[in-house]
């Protein structure tokens, strides 16, 4: 399992897309932190943490799931399509393959977020643990959805298309719940991570549970699939 995680992590760090996305998130974090530092008077009304970490939060909440899909939509589907999965599946259990991939992707994003938080911390001269946790948990949810889509898709192009669709529909549907009181729409907010980002850190555990449930579903589906 750890070998698969390491392989996935290595693969992610090598790609040009990963570098661009990492630079974007770190850049936007750095920009917001710098603006917060330079314009102290604008910080009034919002907490110091929010002011400094605004860029990172915006980057992750608005683009996080999209970025996760861009990088990892084919974590499973590509291996199935190329039949490299056939060797893996004869070496270890399907659950281990899925778990290994998920851990590798999560580690990659943990590094990206840690890098951004570290940059902000250097400027603000304090470490923003809450933002770090929020971002990781939010992205963990995105990774879980991405694994589910990748497991269900037979081709990389299919998982990319569904992934892009999901990464657009999820935030739109979640923000729609702010403006509509309709009960049919309201339940959506409880199933997506956006709602919990504004609440206290403890509520992040709900997002973790939701993500684990999605992982569980992916595992069951993957175990029932011919490769």
């Amino acid at each position: 399992m750890w070998a698969i995680s390491l392989q996935e992590l290595k693969g992610l760090t090598k790609g040009i897309r990963s570098i661009i996305i990492t630079l974007f998130i770190t850049g936007i974090s750095l920009l917001f932190a710098y603006l917060a530092q330079e314009n102290g008077e604008l910080v009034g009304g919002v907490s110091k943490e929010s002011a400094y970490t605004g860029g990172l939060s915006v980057g992750v909440i608005f683009f996080g799931i999209l970025f996760v899909f861009i990088l990892s939509h084919d974590a499973i589907s590509k291996e199935s399509q190329n039949r490299t999965m056939r060797f893996l599946v004869t070496k270890t259990s399907r659950r281990n393959i899925l778990l290994g991939k998920a851990i590798g992707i999560t580690l990659f994003w943990a590094i990206v977020v840690l890098l951004s938080v570290s940059v902000i911390s250097l400027i603000a001269k304090m470490f923003f643990i809450k933002t770090f946790l929020q971002c990781i948990v939010f992205l963990f949810y995105g990774i879980a959805i991405s694994m589910l889509v990748s497991t269900l898709s037979k081709k990389g192009s299919q998982s990319l298309f569904i992934g892009l669709l999901v990464s657009l529909v999820l935030p739109v549907a979640s923000f729609a719940t702010i403006f509509w009181d309709n009960l049919l729409i309201q339940w959506i907010k409880y199933l997506t991570p956006y709602y919990y980002m504004d609440l206290s850190v403890g509520y992040l555990s709900i997002v973790v549970v939701l993500s684990l449930l999605i992982f569980g579903t992916s595992t069951i589906l993957f175990e029932k699939r011919d490769l």
Partner: protein, 305 residues
């Protein structure tokens, strides 16, 4: 002890049975060959028992375990239609696949494994630049990297050059002599005949015949050919006498130069032929008993390869 045991194993696609209720047992240290033409269901069967695809119905056990996940460290698999990561080298592949199973092989061991399959000198080359034959060899290397007790080889020599095919066959025999049980598929009659201790002939998802080479041959044809080399010149009346006797007792025979060939039902008839010749003072220099080849069995059963 049965190392592989399947019970009515079936795989259907769109209600069509690709593998139809196959029950078989493979014993320890056997080389068991699955023979059949393309599309007979050989690969589907091997893919089911190695966990690549799921059976529609039926059950199986490998090394006494019904859960294939529990024995993956003890088996090695060369699946058909599988590919490697193009950007990784041969040695990196072996390292990666070993690590997945929790093994930490030394570089020397990895190099030795590559040497065994004839890939020395290509260890650092990207697999994307490998020929089909080289990829097949690497496929075998990854299958044996964990020193498996049970080895599955799906078409191990298909698509490789003659020299590599010979090397692979020698390797299979060597692995078997070291105590490994081998289950292989092939559509090559000669290959199966040469290296397998037991064979199953498969057609349209079903086993048509299984057993040792001898059993299969004797099940499908009762005839043996006895070819006798006799003296150069035989008097006409002697030849006529012998021919009359053979015609009355055996049916099919023919003379060609100084060779007499007779079709017999079983080996006990050989001395009768020899006595007939000797009683008429015909010198016998050589006797060959020719069994039907597996190919002839196939032709007889009309199971085209």
């Amino acid at each position: 002890m049965a190392i592989i045991k399947t019970n009515n194993l079936t795989k259907s696609y769109n209600h069509k049975k690709v593998v139809n209720e196959i029950s078989l047992e493979v014993n320890e240290k056997e080389i068991y060959g699955f023979l059949g033409r393309n599309g007979a269901g050989k690969s589907t069967f091997i893919n089911m028992i190695t966990g690549i695809i799921l059976p529609t119905s039926g059950s199986f056990e490998l090394l006494g375990e019904a859960n294939v996940n529990l024995v993956k460290k003890r088996i090695g698999v060369l699946p058909d239609y599988s590919t490697f990561y193009d950007s990784m080298s041969a040695i990196d592949h072996l390292k990666f696949y070993s690590n997945i199973q929790g093994l930490r092989p030394s570089k020397n061991y990895l190099m030795e494994t590559l040497e065994v399959v004839g890939l020395t000198g290509n260890e650092k080359q990207k697999v994307g630049k490998f020929s089909f034959g080289m990829k097949k060899k690497l496929g075998i290397a990854q299958a044996i990297i964990n020193k498996p007790e049970l080895l599955f080889l799906d078409e191990p020599t298909s698509g490789v050059d003659a020299e590599s095919a010979i090397q692979i066959k020698q390797l299979i025999k060597k692995l078997n002599s070291e105590g490994r049980t081998i289950f292989m598929t092939s559509h090559n009659l000669n290959e199966v005949e040469e290296i397998c201790s037991r064979i199953a002939i498969m057609s349209n998802g079903e086993i048509r015949s299984q057993g040792t080479l001898q059993e299969i041959k004797s099940n499908h044809t009762n005839s043996l050919l006895v070819k006798v080399r006799v003296q150069e010149v035989i008097k006409d009346h002697v030849e006529k006498e012998i021919s009359s006797f053979l015609e009355a007792n055996f049916g099919k025979f023919h003379w060609e130069s100084n060779y007499l060939t007779v079709e017999i039902e079983n080996e006990s008839e050989i001395p009768v032929i020899l006595r007939t010749l000797m009683q008429r003072k015909v010198d016998v220099f050589e006797v060959n008993v020719i069994e039907p080849s597996l190919e002839e069995v196939f032709l007889e059963k009309k199971v085209a390869i």
